[in-house]
Subunit: 137 residues, 2 copies
């Protein structure tokens, strides 16, 4: 089983992060990054684990995904369907969200542009802009 570049990079990021390199984290990273798809819920990941005959508890899946997120190895996306999706694309980007199929599709930053932004309220500062383009079928 040769690892693709995304997986290798993510495993290196894990190694250089403060997180310990546990079997579970390595397995989860392999699952996340070896797939063509970028977007996973914790349950998606847990299902893949079970299908592969691996044994990682759902709590660990959640812990792991949250810590990978905190360490910028993956990103999380909150959608209007009230589930957290984890995204292997850590670059700044936006999303299509198809309401019928509950699927996310990346929109690269260069393909969407905001030309006017309101004044930021006093005492606050800009953190990030999230654009979700909702689709129907």
């Amino acid at each position: 089983m040769t690892l693709n570049n995304h997986t290798k990079k993510a495993l290196e990021s894990l190694k250089s992060s403060p997180l310990k390199t546990t079997k579970q984290r390595v397995d989860i990273i392999k699952i996340l990054f070896s797939d063509g798809n970028n977007h996973f819920t914790a349950e998606n990941v847990h299902n893949k684990i079970e299908n592969l005959g691996l044994n990682i508890s759902l709590a660990t899946v959640y812990n792991c995904l949250n810590q990978l997120t905190e360490n910028n190895i993956i990103k999380s996306v909150k959608t209007s369907c009230n589930k957290i999706y984890f995204d292997t694309n850590t670059t700044s980007h936006h999303h299509f969200f198809c309401k019928n199929s509950s699927t996310l599709i990346d929109i690269e930053s260069k393909n969407i542009k905001i030309s006017k932004l309101p004044k930021i309220p006093n005492g606050k500062k800009l953190d990030s802009i999230e654009i979700v383009v909702n689709l129907t079928e």
Copy 2:
């Protein structure tokens, strides 16, 4: 207790909707529209009800808010804090979301502009665009 225009309009909308004009719905509309604030969770509304000495069950608050939303008397907004906020502003608009205080602030449509949008994936159609400008303090 004289009602402001927003409240009067919302009560008229209720009357002309298919929904029955119940005491609970009228009370909830009064609470939503008489306040300067536009954004409420179901719990916010339920707390106000209790503080006013009224007695409306949380289930009714949820039912009512959902039905007012379905009938375009209010709108609902999903935020990254995993709670549904109900918004008395039914015009097309966007939001600031302050992560520290979990507060929403309206951004009027005219104050934000998208000048470039990616091609909509085949077989799907555009439903809506949601822009959230996340703030920190």
